[in-house]
């Protein structure tokens, strides 16, 4: 049993529940014990890091400080989300590199009675831990249901291998760790040319046209290679490609139906876990047909309820102050 400190990140509790359940399930099989950081907070995602470094990194470093306090001998923090991973790693790196900055952050943390020693913890993504600590040998030994016949597009995204402070990945542009892992599960892995391309990030919120094009490229390339599913390892990537696939199709008048799964969901299937335990059925683009190719019955996602129509009753008075509609809401315009 190996112990790790676990930073789940916000999405794991909401949009990426499938990821959370499959991570827990797979880690049990692999004897990975995850000790969740008590009272962790949001990593800040990608929103305001460039606006003011100090509060942004203080917010992130709070998690590191809590983790250090709680570490109990374990010095590795696992973040399953690429954005969380990168933010935590950047906070540690900048505090270490720029001593004055590190002291500023610690001065801020001191207000809450906390302190973080830069370099004390290793921040790692789950893929890296599975690949390097557990190893493919062990993975292979746990496979009871090889994924033979399932064509998978391995998608890593842009944040995981860049800048790769500790040189954990084989290459920044074209790393092969996820490919190797999926092959160990018995899947047929395509040489995905866009494996480290951007999923659009938060451009879905602030510039959907840009995001749609980035999403289209990924889905189209996977379809071009005749992939059955595309595998992601970040909640944001998964959400952009899955939840926005319908809008993207509408925008480009295409009809792609590429299921987007988390790598841990496929690991779980190969390890013989029940699809329900792995969060299948919570995806927007159904994986049911793709998974049935290898004889796995996954639940059909629930029908998305159509956007509620404007109430037919009497008109309501408008709000006192005019609020802007949030751009790019998921319901159909």
């Amino acid at each position: 049993m190996s112990d790790y400190i676990f930073y789940p990140g916000c999405s794991m509790e909401s949009s990426a529940k499938a990821y959370y359940h499959s991570v827990m399930s797979v880690c049990k099989t692999l004897d990975i014990k995850l000790n969740e950081i008590n009272d962790w907070n949001c990593c800040g995602a990608t929103e305001y890091l460039s606006l003011d470094r100090m509060p942004a990194y203080s917010l992130i470093a709070r998690n590191l400080a809590l983790a250090e306090k709680q570490s109990n001998g374990s010095k590795t923090v696992i973040a399953p989300c690429s954005a969380c991973y990168l933010n935590l790693a950047k906070a540690d790196h900048y505090m270490h590199e720029d001593k004055a900055f590190g002291e500023q952050i610690n001065a801020a943390l001191a207000a809450g009675g906390l302190h973080y020693t830069p370099g004390e913890l290793a921040v790692r993504h789950l893929l890296d831990v599975v690949f390097n600590d557990i190893g493919l040998e062990v993975i292979r030994s746990k496979v009871v249901k090889p994924l033979a016949g399932l064509r998978v597009a391995p998608y890593i995204g842009c944040m995981l291998p860049r800048p790769d402070y500790d040189k954990r990945y084989s290459n920044t542009e074209h790393p092969h760790e996820l490919d190797d892992l999926l092959k160990a599960l018995g899947a047929e892995v395509i040489d995905f040319p866009l494996k480290t391309a951007c999923c659009g990030g938060h451009m879905t919120q602030i510039g959907p046209d840009t995001a749609f094009e980035l999403i289209r490229r990924l889905i189209a390339a996977a379809a071009e290679y005749k992939a059955d599913v595309l595998v992601a390892l970040c909640p944001m990537c998964q959400m952009n490609l899955d939840a926005f696939q319908g809008q993207m199709n509408g925008y480009f008048k295409t009809n792609y139906k590429m299921p987007i799964l988390f790598f841990t969901q496929l690991m779980g299937i190969a390890f013989g876990h029940k699809p329900e335990e792995l969060g299948f059925g919570s995806e927007f683009v159904s994986a049911r047909q793709a998974m049935s190719r290898i004889g796995v019955q996954t639940p059909e996602p629930a029908e998305i309820a159509p956007a509620a129509k404007k109430p037919a009753g009497l008109p309501m008075p408008p709000p006192l102050k005019k609020q802007e509609e949030p751009v790019g809401k998921t319901e159909e315009a």
Binding site: N171, E173, H174, H176, D191, P193, L194, A197, E213, R217, A220, A221, E224
Partner: protein, 672 residues
């Protein structure tokens, strides 16, 4: 006390080296200080001079030796590397034994490495003080003269090695030419055309190969490796392994029936760069020298499975010999030329360029074979399917070169090679050709004219480092193509250019085993792995190991003319040596005091030159002065302190340290 009265009359000469030394060290003060403060150590005169190495500077020393009766000389100037010989000869000219002159470095060790003038001046004083203390114990020595063996070992049968071997052999001296592959010719034999004249590479190379094969003074050892080299300049002995060809060369006529009949086809990743096939018994190409084939035992069906022997059945002269064994040869030689060449950068190391993943991405070496009329496609430039002619071709420069992720250096040949490729594609296919470059470097005779010609031919030049080559289509027109993603730095825009074929002008690298080879010959490599020349400007041919010379790309990336010139230059240097018939060796040697030697034999195995022998009868070790190189390993290792080195005796070293420490430098702040 009488004992403290100096025995020797020492002269100290401090060089300004223009401003090289004088700019940082107060040479006037140093020389005045030495004259006054080192009097008790025997210094009778101390001078400073603008350039001690000039004739006038040397005459100054000679005059003092004669007029002042100097018995020892200390020159404080540059590194002994540069001018030790100059000043020793000057002393010799004035009748003083050259080994009584000591050169101490206040340039490389002081002025070039310090900026604090006061501290540097103090350090210069300390170093001179050490030199003065040491020189008192120097002994007059006579150089050893040994005969020089007239034969030369040339390692590597590419164009540089071929040129060197022919120059020496034509001058009448014997040469052993050792080549690892079954034939000589090297990379040049693989090329199609040579830039900038576009003459056929094989047509200009093969006559030289034939000359080597027929030359009475050249012993050609192909399919062979040098395993060990012992000895010293003038008297080396090399152990060479001739791998079993499994062909009896006395009977073989080179008729080719064996490889016609051989049923086993293998990908030829050496000569055909992986785009062609050969048989398990083969000669790499028709003009191979020697003409005899070899059986590749790893791939031969008989050697792997025990049956077949098709070649043996059909050989008209019964020349196949499956039982042949490796042969070990010991040859005596006087000098060595290393011309072991280069290897292509492995483009798979840049996965975003797609080589090895995307079928129609080729390396420069693969392209050479495609374009070569004797190559796998008979000279047709086609895609990996073997038949489709590309309509558009991208040539990417600087693949693995000028890139801090791979190799920092410029591979020197890729620009011209890429231009040549562009021309050949135009000529043979009429395709649109893009050259993606960072800078175009065409700085030799007729090279830039070739570049101008290519521009006129209509090659499209895009200035920018290619980010990615991908088969992911984003835009209409990109489907089914390879897309080159690049920032065009001349228009300041990202571009995506779809093409049918990509040629990666991969850089050139030291051979994979260059470090081990360097060890065999006792020479050193630069950080990039290229072999180090004695001086980068003034002696790019010799190495720091006497008698070992360099030719061709083994010393650094270069094109054919430069390799040929270096091969010839190395040959000329060796011929000069051979002509002298004997060679004088530095008399810096270790000697063992028999009475102190306990016979433990620790030194025997440590000696890198195998110069120490053991007398079983007396139970003591002895150093062979002709083999000893004076490296000092045994001296440091001897537990009994029984070994001392002439020129580096314990007394000399300890006195020098005393001298260095004698100066009370703590009074002034010294920043190292």
């Amino acid at each position: 006390m009488d004992e403290n009265k100096p025995k020797e009359r020492i002269g100290v000469y401090v060089c300004h080296c223009g401003t090289n030394i004088a700019g940082v060290v107060d040479v006037g003060e140093v020389s005045t200080w030495a004259g006054e403060n080192l009097k008790k150590n025997g210094v009778v005169i101390a001078r400073d001079y603008k350039f001690m190495c000039s004739s006038l500077g040397q005459e100054l020393i000679q005059k003092d030796i004669k007029e002042q009766g100097l018995t020892r000389v200390v020159v404080a100037a540059c590194s002994p590397h540069l001018h030790e010989a100059t000043f020793r000869n000057a002393c010799k000219g004035a009748g003083l034994n050259p080994y009584l002159c000591e050169l101490v470095s206040i340039r490389e060790q002081v002025s070039w490495v310090h900026t604090d003038k006061i501290a540097a001046t103090e350090k210069a004083k300390a170093i001179i003080s050490g030199g003065v203390a040491r020189v008192e114990h120097n002994e007059p020595l006579e150089p050893l003269r040994v005969p020089i063996h007239p034969a030369t070992l040339v390692v590597g049968g590419g164009i540089a090695g071929i040129q060197a071997a022919l120059e020496i052999a034509d001058a009448g001296s014997p040469v052993y030419l050792v080549e690892r592959e079954p034939t000589i010719g090297g990379h040049m034999a693989q090329f199609d055309k040579t830039f900038p004249t576009l003459d056929c590479s094989a047509c200009i190379l093969t006559p030289k190969m034939v000359q080597v094969g027929n030359h009475p003074n050249i012993t050609l050892l192909t399919y062979s490796d040098v395993e060990k080299v012992e000895g010293y300049v003038g008297n080396f002995e090399a152990t060479i392994r001739k791998h079993a060809r499994s062909i009896n060369t006395k009977d073989c006529t080179g008729c080719g029936i064996c490889w016609e009949k051989c049923p086993k086809k293998v990908v030829d990743d050496v000569f055909e760069a992986g785009v062609g096939y050969r048989k398990a018994v083969y000669t790499p190409f028709p003009q191979a020298v020697p003409k005899y084939p070899v059986i590749d035992r790893v791939n031969c069906t008989y050697f792997q499975k025990g049956t077949c022997k098709a070649c043996e059945k059909f050989c008209p002269t019964h020349a196949i010999d499956f039982a042949q064994e490796d042969e070990i040869l010991n040859v005596k030689i006087g000098n060595i030329i290393l011309a072991t060449g280069w290897q292509l950068f492995d483009a798979r190391r840049i996965p975003n360029y797609g080589y090895g993943r995307l079928a129609n991405v080729f390396t420069s070496m693969e392209f050479e074979r495609l374009s070569n009329a004797a190559g796998p496609t008979g000279g047709a430039i086609v895609l990996r399917d073997g038949k489709t002619t590309p309509k558009s071709v991208a040539i990417v420069h600087c693949v693995g070169s000028r890139d801090k992720n791979y190799n920092n250096y410029c591979s020197a040949i890729c620009c011209m090679q890429s231009l040549k490729f562009a021309h050949l594609v135009h000529e043979k296919t009429g395709a649109t050709v893009y050259n993606f470059y960072i800078d175009i470097r065409t700085p030799a005779k007729d090279y830039d004219e070739f570049y101008q010609r290519l521009i006129e031919e209509g090659t499209l030049f895009v200035r920018g480092k290619v980010a990615e080559i991908t088969d992911a289509a984003f835009n209409p027109g990109e489907e089914g193509k390879l897309v080159v993603q690049v920032e065009d730095t001349l228009i300041g825009k990202q571009r995506r250019i779809p093409v049918d074929m990509v040629v990666l002008s991969a850089g050139i690298e030291p051979r994979f085993d260059s470090k081990e080879t360097a060890k065999i010959f006792g020479i050193s490599c630069s950080a990039s792995g290229w072999y180090l020349e004695k001086h980068p400007k003034l002696d790019p041919v010799a190495t720091m190991t006497d008698g070992v010379y360099l030719a061709g790309c083994v010393q650094g990336p270069k094109d054919i003319p430069a390799s040929v010139a270096q091969g010839a230059a190395a040959a000329a240097r060796i011929l000069g040596k051979i002509q002298q018939k004997e060679i004088s060796l530095e008399p810096i040697r270790a000697t063992i005091n028999e009475e102190q030697c306990s016979g433990c034999r620790i030194c025997n195995s440590l000696c890198p030159f195998n110069a120490i022998l053991f007398h079983e009868d007396k139970m003591v070790s002895e150093v062979n002065p002709a083999l000893c190189q004076g490296c000092g390993t045994c001296i440091a290792a001897c537990p009994a302190g029984a070994i001392s080195g002439t020129g580096f005796s314990n007394q000399q070293i300890l006195s020098q340290i005393d001298g260095l420490l004698f100066l009370n430098i703590s009074k002034k702040e010294v920043v190292a």
